[in-house]
Amino acid sequence: MPELESKVCKILAENLSVPESQVTPKARFQEDLDADSLDLVEAVLALEEEFGVTIPEEEMEGVQTVGQAVQLVASKMGVGA
């Protein structure tokens, strides 16, 4: 899990063009990372690509923090969150 988390954070930092230090589990996409809906779609594409998972749009709807995104990826990979 920590390994997955750091990988997700790294990808999010790259895709949202923010320093990795800002991408913490508690960071909120919109308020803290200045990510709009297009950024999130792009970030999800990168996560899907990296982890070989599919994340349907509707499942992203409730995701507001980096930690929630990590959990979502983990559940898709069958890793207990």
Binding site: E42, L45, E48
Partner: protein, 416 residues
Amino acid sequence: MPASTAAVRRVVVTGFGPVTPVATGIEEFWSALLAGRSGIDHITSFDASEMPVKIAGEVKDFRPDDWLTPKEIRRTDRAVHLAIAASKLAWRDAGEPSVDPARTGVMFSTGIGGLSSLLQQHVVLLEKGPDRVSPFMVPMLMPNAAAANVAMAFGFTGPNACITTACAAGSHAVGEAFRLIKYGFADVAIAGGTEATVLPLTVAGFAQMQALTKNPDPARASRPFDKHRDGFVLSEGAGALVLEDSERAAARGAGIYAEVCGYGASADAHHITAPEPEGLGAIQALQAALEEAAEPADAVGYINAHGTSTPLNDAAETRAIKKALGDHAYSTAVSSTKSMTGHMLGAAGAVEAGIAALAVARGEIPPTINYETRDEECDLDYVPNVARTADVRLALSNAFGFGGHNAVVALRRFDR
């Protein structure tokens, strides 16, 4: 000021930002043009070894992160990167005036738009499927992205549009921005053009039209009006002008390059790519620009020609200039700076209006380089190979686009 009832105002150029294969920034650009330095070289942005044409004008020293944040860079096409750089340079050159955002417009043109972004995503679609296509593809490819992003960069909420008229697009931007201010719809405007389509597909497409030169020698390939010209050199770049109500500019003590005093626009209504052979559409645009300027033909001291270096354009343009100016055509300096910049398509008109403004402001005329052999169809004074000093009170900037779009901008020394 209610627009329609406002008094007609005079409009001046107070800033210029060129981002071109020759140079970036007004002083670097101007001294390079006067020195006759070509910006054309072998293509470096992709492997052109199998391409029918291997040369182009690329803005090689351009670093997007000098002008945009990493996030802005990711979300925009190179055409926007160049446009933002040109606009910021022009705004700085104008002294970063304080403005009413609602009274400040942006007219930013392109010939093609974010084609590179479109092509990259098309590969993604074909190789990985529709679920992998970037959500940024549409805002990156749309031709109006530069106009939108320039407005966002400065917060200008005045009239904003992108006129897409191929190789005349930059001139239409300048002309329409001029009219916005002249008739009171805005007080200040950024007018510009951008293009970033030195790509395998465009090189192939223009080559298939027989529009590109087959001359393999980069610095000598663009040779407008020369007998051995055989096509244009594809280039990228951007240019932006700051246009301003003259009274406002004078009141703030702005440096003024020239007054935009006329704009003529017309259509050939003849053929989708070939110019009307007698230059009738161009003549109409030239005459309209002079009419709006209320200047006689013999007042013209310099014409920055469209001068693409294609056999058809340069002959038709010469005929048009002779028809519009009469005998005075033979005593008018006519140069094509595309001999050095190559053809920046939708950016060309904006950059070249800036060059015409500088010719007026500084009394210097950049040359047509690579002019060696006289063509009987092209018999004007093309300022061959060497810049000259001249007292230019009135200059014209010509632009003629595929589609038969013609736009001529007139620039005059500003006398208060």
